[in-house]
């Protein structure tokens, strides 16, 4: 039974009608790590949408915890449906950090984790120094713009915060582009060494 008001379909077939104003940040998929080597979002697999349905996508990483000490949390793009995660990237990385004993605090460009036309995985943490203590983890928000474009390179902007092994708060600003005009249709996350012990990654589409 449809609910129609003043000529507008409000509800039909178990869903709100297109005329009803709704939020435009749509949760697509949640992946939960449990000693996972990788976590991958592949368009068309397991209900994942990563195509021209949305102009931009947001990944939220919640408390990614490594299984090995002194590692980086990383990601890469694929243009072949997840067969190969090896898109060429040029990126920038800026770190602001502050040690718990107040002995260090600074902001600086990070040449250790940036990429110049590299197919390597991009780090969201830095200096290979994610901590393995029980209360240590990384949280991050990544905006990926128009991954399905076949005209433009694929820009992304990420802001991350992690608890460094040497007891620092580390705020990481990572940005750049996948230097390809092929559509990016998959994104994979992993530690650069060892597993993702626990944590959640959520993928949203930004509609409208």
């Amino acid at each position: 039974m449809a609910v129609v008001s003043n000529g507008t379909t409000i509800i039909d077939a178990g869903a709100l009608g297109s005329g009803v104003a709704t939020g435009k940040m749509i949760l697509i998929k949640t992946l939960t790590a449990s000693g996972s080597g990788t976590l991958s979002f592949v368009d068309g697999a397991d209900s994942v949408v990563l195509d021209d349905t949305y102009d931009s996508y947001v990944f939220k990483i919640i408390n990614a915890h490594p299984g090995t000490d002194d590692v980086n949390f990383t990601f890469n793009f694929s243009i072949d449906g997840g067969s190969n995660y090896n898109v060429t990237k040029t990126t920038t990385v800026v770190n602001a950090y502050h040690k718990e004993d107040n002995s260090e605090a600074a902001v600086a460009y990070n040449t250790y984790d940036d990429l110049a036309q590299s197919t390597a995985y991009q780090s969201l943490s830095s200096f290979g120094q994610m901590g393995i203590d029980n209360d240590q983890s990384l949280c991050s928000i990544i905006h990926l713009y128009n991954p399905s474009s076949t005209v433009f390179v694929k820009h992304f902007i990420a802001t991350s915060q992690f608890y460094q092994a040497e007891d620092r708060s580390n705020n990481v600003f990572t940005s750049g582009y996948g230097n390809t005009t092929s559509a990016v249709n998959a994104v994979q996350f992993k530690m650069n060494s060892g597993n993702i012990d626990s944590g959640v990654i959520k993928l949203y589409g930004i509609g409208g």
Binding site: G14, A15, K24, F156, I157, G176, Y177
Partner: protein, 202 residues
């Protein structure tokens, strides 16, 4: 009475049972060799008033007509003159595709001190595959008590280099801001989209 459709409870007890979300799309402008793109409250279905406490603008693949274009923002308090006074900061990180240079710098050419035009992106390339993407968040534009803070982050390609720009500032007025304009300093916005969202319950 609950409203149940196809075995899904849509509304019950005077409220929607489904999550309607808090990010509401208001307007999309698509550039086509456009000299400016402007959102003005009350015009062309644009809402930019006290309806939402926070507004978010998304920039999707803005392509400029001339190289080394600076992307900029201006505000209006009267819906027609985009000359509201701003003070802003601008810093960026850059990295050449060749790896030949990289760094972090404050960009004094793109900030503004009690002027009308603030930079959002520095030195955009006009190569076919080059563009600017990012977002700007505008806080409480309808306030008649406070200045109007905004925060923006953009990623763009210079010629064969990544350039990540972090900029923020305030419109130094206690009048309500009712419109916003985006442009490149030296060329049209050849292509791309700017999308305006209101953030509910924020």
């Amino acid at each position: 009475m609950a409203i149940i459709s196809n075995a899904v409870t849509i509304a019950d007890a005077g409220a929607f049972s489904v999550n309607l979300g808090s990010m509401v799309h208001i307007k999309t402008l698509t550039a086509s060799s456009s000299s400016t793109l402007s959102f003005v409250h009350g015009s062309s279905s644009v809402v930019l008033n006290s309806t939402y406490p926070i507004y978010k603008f998304q920039f999707i693949n803005l392509h400029c007509g001339s190289t080394e274009a600076d992307f900029q923002v201006l505000y209006t308090t009267d819906g027609s003159n985009f000359n509201a006074t701003q003070t802003s900061t601008f810093f960026g990180a850059y990295h050449a595709e060749s790896g030949a240079y990289s760094g972090l710098s404050y960009y004094s050419a793109n900030d503004v001190a009690q002027g009308s035009t603030a930079g959002l992106g520095d030195s955009q390339s006009s190569n076919n595959d080059a563009s600017l993407s990012g977002e700007l968040t505008l806080f409480n534009p309808s306030s008649t008590t406070f200045v109007k803070h905004w925060i923006a982050t953009t990623s763009l390609d210079e010629v064969n280099a990544a350039n990540s720009n972090y900029t923020a500032g305030y419109v130094n007025t206690t009048s309500a801001v009712t419109g916003i304009r985006f442009k490149f300093d030296n060329s049209n916005i050849d292509a791309g989209k700017i999308k305006l969202y209101g953030i509910k319950d924020s």
